[in-house]
Symmetry: C2
Subunit: 300 residues, 2 copies
């Protein structure tokens, strides 16, 4: 199997897990369950669950509670998209070519569908305890839950969203420090959760989990800078959305701050360090290394 | 100390716990933290944490993780109010005489403040694991977390919110079954969480926890019916809001369905069963019994 075939197979496995953990759409709350299912089934790269599983594989041990956390993390990512798309936030009517949740179900149901999905993420992750037998199993699941909580909340993704919303207001002077804070939290935090939780559940030690945290931070930031680079260099045809929009909108990005060449150098440095960390472990995961490189050096 | 003094003292203790567990308002995410703190500090009866502590006392054992769960449950209650008040839902500009969160901080920050608070509730509850030593401690905390998740989510409060939103749409025919579903989930579910978690953390057995679940369901439903009764019988002066509004809005309630006398009988029956359950345990908690009665037979 080449990389592309392997990626398709593994993505399919994630889809199966998501379908298994999504609640049935029944009862008086059927509408909110339907909206939750609509948002989750909109597709996407399923990057976070993929990275979680591959990070667990890197440390070898069978991690029983892994599928619960894979589903939970994708539910958290999805709830954040539902709320991000709301008229009061980014006001997006389409995502991945489909109408967004509030366009189909109304704003009121979209708000509580996001809430329901965030809450259900924790309900799903908590099911990992069903596999716990020893006190060590309990402690691993506890640790994974705490990472999930921290990286998804005000010291992670929600914190990044807050700074991102403020950065768009005309009265805010965006500094490089703020820009990095946004990338680190809005984008990198859930990638960190993915790779750290995979490692924790597979029995990685503290030092290894810290290395995974740094690796994932680099991936997240490089991913964002690459996004800004593509906005300048890519054509409408390749990207599927108008290019040069950041410059037109006077949006401050790493590229507008440091120029194209320096940005490309930065992406290369971050990527090299990230893959270097992965290569430094005793067990190797070639698929994960390729996935990270493809993710950063993408053309759209 | 009479009941009123004891209630004030205990409510003060809850306020201290909430203040202790709320995160500091700093960093680039300072604004969302400020909005979360604003909503939590708006006050209220702190009924859910109070009921949790008193339910734990009913079973005697010191429950170490209790303050974490008391704070977590109040955070969940508060996030639901922030989102309920949004223009797309109930569109309320004032709550308890103060401007609502979206009026002060904007709709965008209010949405993510609700998200941040829900997520932070789980972060806070997870801190209860810090007190766990034996595998039994871990299992109690696990059980309490699962009750919190279930009662707060699509099979609890969020499910009730969904049905409540649908019930307000002109095309929905509201049945008695649907009305009871809304009371049971939108109101009773978090009261159930409070009383069940208190019992679980204090070492109550399965049968006792089930009894607390039924007791709390009765309290929640009786509370709601009493609300509908007060809308008809109370004066503007006592209630502080216009009365007779349900009839004017053609809102279907237990009172409009069954009349005032039958509704009062129902409140008495539910209340008697609830207090009967509390009196049936070997240890008695007179404060809790009075709290439940005062809660149901309130005049505003």
């Amino acid at each position: 199997m080449n990389f592309k075939e392997e990626l398709e197979k593994k993505t399919g496995e994630v889809e199966t897990i998501l379908a298994e953990y999504l609640p049935k759409q029944e009862g008086f709350q059927g509408k909110v369950l339907e909206a939750m299912g609509y948002a989750v089934s909109a597709g996407g790269k399923r990057l976070r669950p993929l990275l979680m599983r591959e990070s667990a594989d890197l440390f070898g041990e069978t991690a029983e509670g892994l599928p619960c956390f894979m589903a939970a993390l994708e539910f958290i990512h999805t709830y954040s998209l539902i709320h991000d798309d709301l008229p009061a936030l980014d006001n997006d009517d389409y995502r991945r070519g489909r109408k967004t949740t509030h366009v189909v179900y109304g704003e009121d149901i979209a708000v509580i569908a996001g809430d329901g999905l965030l809450n259900y993420a924790y309900e799903t992750a908590l099911r990992a305890f069903e596999k716990a037998v020893t006190i060590e199993d309990y402690q691993r699941t506890e640790r994974a839950l705490k990472i999930l909580g921290r990286k998804a909340g005000v010291y992670g993704m929600v914190g990044g969203q807050c700074a991102d919303l403020l950065a768009e207001k005309p009265e805010t002077e965006v500094t490089e420090e703020m820009l990095l804070y946004i990338h680190r939290n809005k984008t990198a935090a859930l990638i960190q959760a993915a790779m750290m939780i995979g490692a924790v559940l597979a029995g990685a030690d503290d030092k290894a989990v810290e290395l995974m945290e740094r690796c994932a931070e680099n991936i997240g930031i490089a991913f964002q800078i690459q996004d800004d680079i593509l906005d300048v260099t890519s054509s409408l045809e390749v990207l599927g959305k108008p290019t040069g929009s950041d410059e037109k909108n006077h949006k401050l990005t790493y590229v507008t701050m440091h120029g194209l060449e320096e940005s490309k150098r930065q992406v290369a440095a971050l990527s090299e360090e990230a893959v270097g960390i992965l290569k430094g472990f005793s067990h190797r995961n070639a698929f994960l290394e390729t996935l990270v490189e493809q993710l950063i050096y993408r053309e759209k």
